[in-house]
């Protein structure tokens, strides 16, 4: 997914001279072909995220569309004030490509986990927050990112994630994708949890429980119309996300449904707990530790349905 995103930055730079790239001490050879082709629009800066964001803001104020890449929490925690003021207050077209969304960096511990990024980014006025499901969908997002008018937070997954998105269903920033029509239950997912949700829905289908799936790749601006439409008439809405229980997709969905005065009998939020991880392992083992692998998702839904 990261490769797809960065290759697209190069492609966009070929298409549009406003596009440039800024990384902060990324892996050796990152975007080397772009560097060779556009040396004046490729920057590898030091480990200095506050400056990287401010620098991108200055470039955007003078007409450029900077695409930035670093590890997610180093954007969202370290440079939060720069993102808030330099990017969001000025509503600048800067794209933050955030590596390691969720618990991708499980083996590296809590300093590197991005489990609060959706919350801290979506609370910022003018910021858009997108978490696509796979590399194919990333390419569709990147094509649209060029003309998005304000700052855009792009949450990357681990990479090599199975392709579960469907090109026939299209992609528009801010428009949720209905992957399966609602039945008794509506699953609302973001990012790679779409794949887990599809598998959980298959398990439940075998047990006589029909689940619709709404892929909410854009958590902000949330497609509240689609959510309202598909949530109406189901017995249970379930949000599934690789993020803290606080402030992420589940929070956004709860707020939207409450504001719309649509109160399904139940809203089940499946997410990471409000706690720092106390184990390492892998993304998969950590998701399992927190009940977010398909059999656990299916079991939680069955329990809630009673």
């Amino acid at each position: 997914m990261r490769r797809a995103a960065l290759d697209k930055v190069h492609e966009l730079a070929q298409r549009d001279r406003r596009v440039l790239f800024i990384g902060s001490d990324l892996g050796a050879g990152t975007l080397a072909p772009m560097r060779a082709e556009f040396p004046d629009r490729w920057f590898m800066e030091g480990i200095a995220e506050a400056n990287m964001i401010g620098m991108a803001a200055g470039l955007a104020m003078d007409g450029f569309v900077p695409y930035l890449n670093t590890i997610a929490p180093f954007f969202t925690r370290r440079a939060n004030e720069q993102i808030t003021i330099d990017l969001c207050l000025h509503k600048l077209p800067v794209r933050l490509i955030a590596s390691g969304g969720g618990v991708v960096y499980a083996p590296l511990g809590p300093t590197h986990l991005a489990v609060d990024d959706i919350a801290t980014m979506r609370v910022l006025p003018n910021m858009a927050v997108v978490a696509v499901a796979d590399a194919a969908e990333m390419r569709r997002l990147m094509d649209q990112s060029l003309e998005w008018p304000g700052p855009l937070y792009i949450r990357l997954a681990k990479g090599g994630d199975p392709i579960v998105s469907d090109p026939a269903r299209g992609f528009t920033i801010g428009k949720a994708i209905i992957m399966r029509d609602p039945g008794t239950v509506l699953l609302v997912t973001t990012g790679v949890m779409l794949g887990r949700a599809l598998a959980a829905a298959d398990l439940l289908k075998g047990q006589g429980i029909s689940c619709g799936i709404l892929h909410m790749h854009t958590v902000k601006p949330l497609d509240s119309a689609a959510l309202r439409d598909y949530a109406a008439g189901v017995n249970l809405v379930v949000t599934i996300e690789e993020h803290s229980l606080i402030g992420g997709l589940g929070g956004a969905v709860a707020e939207t449904l409450m504001d719309a005065e649509i109160r399904p009998p139940c809203l089940l939020r499946l997410a990471l707990p409000d706690a720092f991880a106390d184990e390492y392992g892998s993304q998969d083992t950590m998701l399992e530790a927190f009940g977010l692998v398909p059999p656990q998702i299916a079991a939680a839904i069955r329990r809630r349905l009673g």
């Binding site: 004046d40 964001i53 401010g54 470039l59 104020m61 003078d62 003021i85």
Partner: protein, 282 residues
């Protein structure tokens, strides 16, 4: 490269001429209108901004977004009354707008906001943002092959912020000779003397170590500022840092060098009169 061995603030104090007094009266006008303001912080950079707007910057009052303009970022946004005085004086907005400072529907807030005030490039207020943004603007000029300069005015206390030094590293690396970092070195931050709260000395050496061409000047000496600003870049392969030795509250004898005049609110009319009296009357 001009280099002073001694801090010029050891020299004889500069008498303010009528234009400097007039601009300070505009600052007091804003302060009176808003019933508050960072007065000390707005009186120290008056000559720096005056020389930039009068003699150095390339800009069009009737076309603030004119592409080849020089960019000026007041990174110490709390000193905005000084920039508002200059912008009003130049006609970016009417002088009477100063009377609305900080009022509910004014364009002039307690920190400057871009998009709201003609002539303001960047919204500032949180410290340490101006220099990184200026780095981006200087790079943009380089990529687009424009010859405009990017000027940033920072406070001395502001340079406590790590982001200033992140940007300084980056500017030095990219040899951004169109970038000029000016420090309004009035030696007082909010609580008290910079030497006590967070000493930045040896200050010039720090900038030099970050690959800036560095010089120091009396920040109230209009002729010296004019000569120096016109000579930028001091080194064709480096960004420039100009440490302007200033006096916080300059022009108001009872406020000069006093930390309690960093910000004032609810000044009674008699105090406003006293401020004007120091500046040649209303």
């Amino acid at each position: 490269m001009i280099n002073h061995d001694k801090a010029p603030d050891q020299a004889e104090p500069i008498d303010l001429d009528e234009r400097s007094l007039y601009l300070r009266r505009l600052v007091i006008r804003g302060l009176e209108g808003g019933g508050r303001g960072h007065i000390g912080s707005s009186l120290s950079p008056i000559e720096i901004l005056r020389v930039l707007y009068d003699d150095i910057l390339r800009y069009r009052v009737d076309e603030p977004a004119w592409l080849p303009r020089d960019r000026l970022i007041l990174s110490k946004g709390h000193g905005c009354l000084a920039q508002y005085a200059l912008l009003a004086d130049k006609g970016f907005f009417p002088l009477a707008t100063l009377d609305s400072f900080c009022q509910q529907h004014s364009i002039l807030g307690g920190h400057p906001e871009a998009g709201q005030i003609p002539g303001i490039e960047v919204s500032t207020g949180a410290l340490g943002h101006g220099l990184p943004v200026a780095v981006g603007m200087a790079l943009a000029a380089r990529i687009d092959k424009r010859d405009n300069k990017v000027w940033v005015v920072m406070g001395d206390g502001e340079t406590n912020e790590g982001s200033v030094w992140e940007a300084a590293l980056c500017a030095g690396k990219h040899r951004l000779s169109r970038l000029v970092a000016i420090v309004d070195y009035n030696k007082l931050q909010s609580y008290g003397p910079t030497a006590e709260v967070q000493d930045m000395e040896p200050f010039a050496d720090k900038w030099r170590a970050f690959n800036f061409a560095v010089t120091e000047v009396d920040g109230h000496d209009v002729a010296a500022l004019r000569r120096l600003f016109a000579a930028v870049p001091l080194d064709p392969g480096k960004p420039t840092a100009i440490i302007c030795h200033t006096v916080k509250g300059k022009g108001i004898p009872f406020a000069e060098g006093k930390a309690e005049w960093h910000h004032k609110a609810k000044l009674p009319p008699a105090d406003i009169d006293a401020l004007y009296a120091c500046l040649g009357g209303r």
